[in-house]
Symmetry: C3
């Protein structure tokens, strides 16, 4: 097993809620570092997450954000958190803040339509994403 | 650490939304390959996921699907995705498309009532599930 | 890689729905066992989960529980599960029952505001949480 460490990506969101494709950047880290194993994508924020979903039709992303907005609207009469972004925290907890993708032969084992998406729920902001390649290929 | 690779299970769903038990098949892969470590179960589709939940009363599964259907119905006036399965993508993002289960002494460390469930949200279809056993027992 | 095994934490909840901070206990296990790698926190129950969210303002936690209660109320006319806790199973599936946190230099790579939270959805009860440190630092 090769000794790797966590790498950090920088992401800049431009809206309050936005989905940003990270697949290419994660793929690059994996190609250089992992033969067989997996990669952990981790978002170190409490109002942004990561999900794996369709990368073909952009309507899938916007329908997802619209539905999530209806389920968890920005304002509810019972929210007490002073920063006014309780919805962002709830959305993050529902979507999750990490994703694990398998790797074989240096390639992400994503399904044909899958992409890795950063989910901004309280932008626009500058954000970080940690990427931890894990190589299990034995390596002497 | 023993050198393992990802294995693929085949799953056939018979309804649009359906929960299918994978526990036995994952257990078999783990028993043969892992002493101490974990297993990653990954669904390479964008309209199907995986969850860990109760394996005893089948009403838990049907109540789960019914509740999810009420939260995320098939049709919403604001959906724009042409394939008409935006709900399937949203359900998948909420449930998640991977599960990690710990292993000790070659056995899944599932709780007494836990099972590993494939979640079909746009069937009936033939699907694949990737299973990646990770053995951390030193392999000397 | 050092040979580690799964450790078990004990958690006692005092309400039906409650969020309990596990960060310190997970940090202690990691500090003693992992130089570079990650830790898997796994809840072996079907009516309790784990999430990563804000550890600063306690209103974030209560707003989260209130919102989740509105989305998935305890009673629905169509629930059939005899134990009357179908909502607890649904909440668990939405939040998830495991969390992975990266580690470098023996420290959890949590974001500034992040904590690791046990989510009780059918308490009060005595619960267990499995913690699996994974050290990838080479170890000879």
């Amino acid at each position: 097993m090769r000794q790797l460490t966590t790498q950090t990506l920088s992401v800049t969101s431009r809206s309050r809620c936005e989905i940003i494709d990270l697949t290419g950047q994660v793929e690059k880290i994996v190609r250089e570092n992992v033969k067989s194993g997996f990669v952990i994508v981790y978002v170190p924020h409490t109002t942004a997450g990561v999900t794996i979903n369709e990368n073909a039709d952009p309507d899938v992303k916007s329908d997802f954000l619209k539905k999530l907005e209806r389920l968890v609207p920005k304002t509810e009469p019972y929210y007490e958190h002073g920063e006014g972004n309780s919805d962002s925290h709830v959305k993050t907890a529902l979507v999750g803040n990490s994703a694990t993708v398998l790797v074989e032969d240096g390639r992400l084992l994503l399904g044909r339509w899958q992409g890795i998406y950063f989910c901004e729920f309280d932008g626009p902001r500058r954000r970080e994403v940690y990427v931890r390649p894990v190589d299990l290929s034995g390596g002497g």
